[in-house]
């Protein structure tokens, strides 16, 4: 039955959480703590020299890891983080023990995220660098407006199925969809409007795709040896993170979607 004992009915309390420190690890109990105080505590712990912050009892607190810079920093989350996790993040690693909500890795610059569950909509919106690995399914508009510049190439690897608008308006980076840990076996690997408006980057789908579900800006190819070279380290890392059989994942052919035009709206908005 329903439980109501997890906290005061008023919702979050705007007080600083208790931070316990052991070596270079800081542990914070996030139970019922408002997102602002929670995120101040996370930043405070890093400022005090902690390298790892463990967040317990997280439920719905927004903006965790936002804008934090530092390659060797790590945030471990127990519970469900709120929206816009790791927005503008620049370097750290975030690991969740369960699912994440909408807007993970919004405009993220660098770093790595491992989500041990499903992720919601608009994952990696406008992402500019770093890597996101999701164990299971992802929602709508994953990788929308993802972009790349020189050696800054964002990567998202999703372990389950994806819903509509996968890679919409994608301008750069690599999107991988594996269809391994799916919640609903009867649903297609990827929803309609995949890659619609895409004008850069590449999408790899493990298996086949219904051409009518693919945006008209995309060309559909079978991944070749060169592509597998790109895929190998990504899939390897995904398998290592979530305990899957690497050879088995790569045993099936991948479909590759790339844009056929670099400027699909050139005629619309600017004289040629």
């Amino acid at each position: 039955m329903m439980t109501t004992a997890t906290g005061p009915v008023e919702g979050y309390v705007k007080v600083a959480p208790t931070v316990t420190r052991e070596g270079d690890t800081a542990t914070i109990d996030g139970h019922g703590v408002y997102y602002r105080q929670l995120n101040e505590a996370v930043r405070g712990a890093f400022a005090d020299g902690a390298k790892t912050v463990k967040l317990g009892n997280i439920n719905g607190q927004r903006y965790i890891g936002n804008g934090i810079t530092g390659k060797d920093l790590r945030i471990e989350i127990q519970g469900v983080p709120g929206g816009d996790m790791a927005m503008f993040m620049n370097g750290p690693t975030i690991v969740t023990d369960g699912s994440a909500q909408d807007g993970v890795a919004n405009t993220m610059n660098a770093g790595t995220i491992y989500i041990n569950g499903d992720a919601g909509d608009v994952l990696g919106y406008g992402m500019r660098g770093g890597r996101v690995f999701v164990r299971g399914d992802v929602g709508y508009r994953v990788g929308i407006h993802m972009k790349a510049f020189e050696n800054l190439i964002p990567i998202i690897c999703c372990g389950g199925n994806a819903r509509a608008f996968f890679g919409e308006y994608m301008a750069g980076g690599v999107l991988v969809l594996l269809g391994r840990n799916v919640q609903f076996a009867d649903q297609p690997l990827v929803g309609p409007f995949c890659g619609s408006g895409m004008h850069g980057g590449v999408i790899y789908l493990r298996g086949e795709v219904n051409p009518q579900d693919v945006g008209k800006e995309c060309g559909i190819f079978t991944a070749d040896e060169q592509d597998i070279k790109v895929l190998r380290p990504i899939v390897e890392e995904w398998c290592a993170a979530f305990g899957d059989d690497f050879e088995d994942v790569l045993s099936q052919p991948f479909t590759k979607l790339v844009p056929v035009s670099h400027r699909p709206y050139g005629k619309l908005y600017a004289p040629m």
Binding site: M1, M2, Y35, G60, S99, D121, G139, A164
Partner: protein, 401 residues
């Protein structure tokens, strides 16, 4: 002495704020009733989805002592409005109980209107004379009050249910109305972030008519055509919030036109023409007719809604999923919310958590209660075509075990 000028309530908001709303719907399909504090708690973790300009709840099964009375929750700006509305009640109904809504002072809740509730039954003779069903009779009075009595608004008018709403955060509003003292089998909750219309007490969600209650996250850009369409059937949109049309559309499609739920949802969130082109001939014909007949009922714009009623609950997204919606189940309890955290706050270790597909309803149905909707989901096109083609014989009500 002259009466001071009374302010007009149909004011446009002087500014526009962009944001989202939060919602929750919880239904125990076993019919077990639970405290309104559960709904408050689910809304409290979605605090920042609103901005304090509107919060509200609707509970079902909350008035077991008056199961067959129409429970009117009223908002009055002043005593004159109250007197005028009560005169109307006396004219149309036998008033078996009239009392102020129980409230408690809550920090942050100010400028509350006069809040009263009434338990009413239509006068049999008057009802017969009107040649209306009791439900249409009640709808007539609701529209009459909302459109002709300045400063009087009906917050809810169903049986064994009620809406509790106002300006504030939902957890404040919930406390204000002492919701922990009510028990219901179904609750819907809402946290408002007004974008296009003013944040005022009558404009908070849920919007209700009879047993239907709607909470909505999104904006209905087809409000104009929807409200003009509804006017033809006697519905008057007076509350200044787009969601009002969704409540009346469900009443029109489900109660009056007796559309099966699947079809009503397809009328509001219809398949794209592109998708219809790919359907088989029978389904394509049905969807084409549906779009032709109910074109003005199409809800354009992003939305996630929860429809509550006596018998269950339906949650629905727009066709391309422009607003968040998560669902979960544990045993007989079905819960939907804008965020997974809201569900996890009230249900520990759910059996399943999933993201519903865009345009496909999530349905809770209470065992042993009448299902107020004609037919059900998962019907073949031929089985549900009656409402569109008008061939009554082709209609079958399919029972769900």
């Amino acid at each position: 002495m002259t009466t001071p000028m009374r302010p007009a309530y149909s004011q446009e908001s002087p500014f526009k704020i962009h944001g989202g709303c939060g919602l929750v719907g919880i239904c125990d399909e076993s019919g077990t009733r639970f405290s309104g504090s559960v709904a408050i708690e689910a809304m409290a973790v979605q605090h920042d989805r609103g901005n304090g300009l509107g919060g509200g709840f609707a509970g079902y099964g909350i008035y077991p002592e008056f199961p067959d009375h129409f429970a009117f929750h009223m908002m009055y700006h002043d005593l004159q409005a109250k007197e005028e509305a009560e005169k109307l009640f006396d004219e149309y109904f036998q008033v078996d109980l009239a009392e102020p809504m129980p409230t408690r002072p809550v920090k942050g809740i100010t400028d509350a209107p006069l809040l009263w509730r009434y338990f009413l039954q239509p006068y049999p003779a008057k009802l017969e004379l009107s040649e209306l069903t009791p439900e249409d009779y009640v709808v007539h009075v609701v529209m009459l009050i909302n459109s002709t009595i300045d400063g009087a608004f009906v917050a809810s008018s169903g049986k064994n249910m009620g809406a509790f709403k106002g300006v504030g955060y939902p957890e404040q509003i919930g406390h204000y109305f002492l919701l922990e003292e009510y028990e219901g089998h179904t609750w819907v909750g809402h946290n408002r972030f007004p974008t296009n219309t003013p944040g005022w007490w009558g404009g908070a969600h849920p919007f209700t008519l009879l047993d239907w209650s709607i909470v909505h996250n999104g904006e209905i850009s087809s409000y104009g055509i929807n409200s003009r369409y509804l006017e033809q059937f006697g519905y008057k949109c007076t509350l200044g919030t787009d969601t009002e049309v969704a409540a009346y559309l469900f009443d029109l499609l489900l109660r009056r036109h007796k559309l099966p739920l699947a079809l009503a949802c397809k009328a509001l969130a219809s398949p794209l023409w592109e998708e219809i082109d790919r359907m088989g001939p029978e389904e394509a014909a049905l969807m084409t007719s549906l779009r032709a007949v109910y074109g003005p009922a199409l809800l354009n714009g992003p939305f996630a809604i929860v429809l509550g009623f006596n018998g269950g609950m339906v949650a629905l997204n727009d066709r391309i999923k422009l607003r968040p919606l998560v669902a979960a189940r544990k045993g007989s309890v079905l819960c939907v919310a804008s965020e997974e955290s809201a569900i996890r706050q009230i249900i520990s270790a759910p059996d399943a958590v999933w993201a519903p597909k865009a345009g496909e309803p999530v349905i809770a149905r209470i065992k042993g209660m009448d299902w107020p909707i004609h037919g059900d989901l998962h019907l073949a096109p031929s089985e549900i075509s009656c409402a569109v083609t008008g061939v009554e014989a082709s209609c079958e009500i399919v029972e769900v075990a």
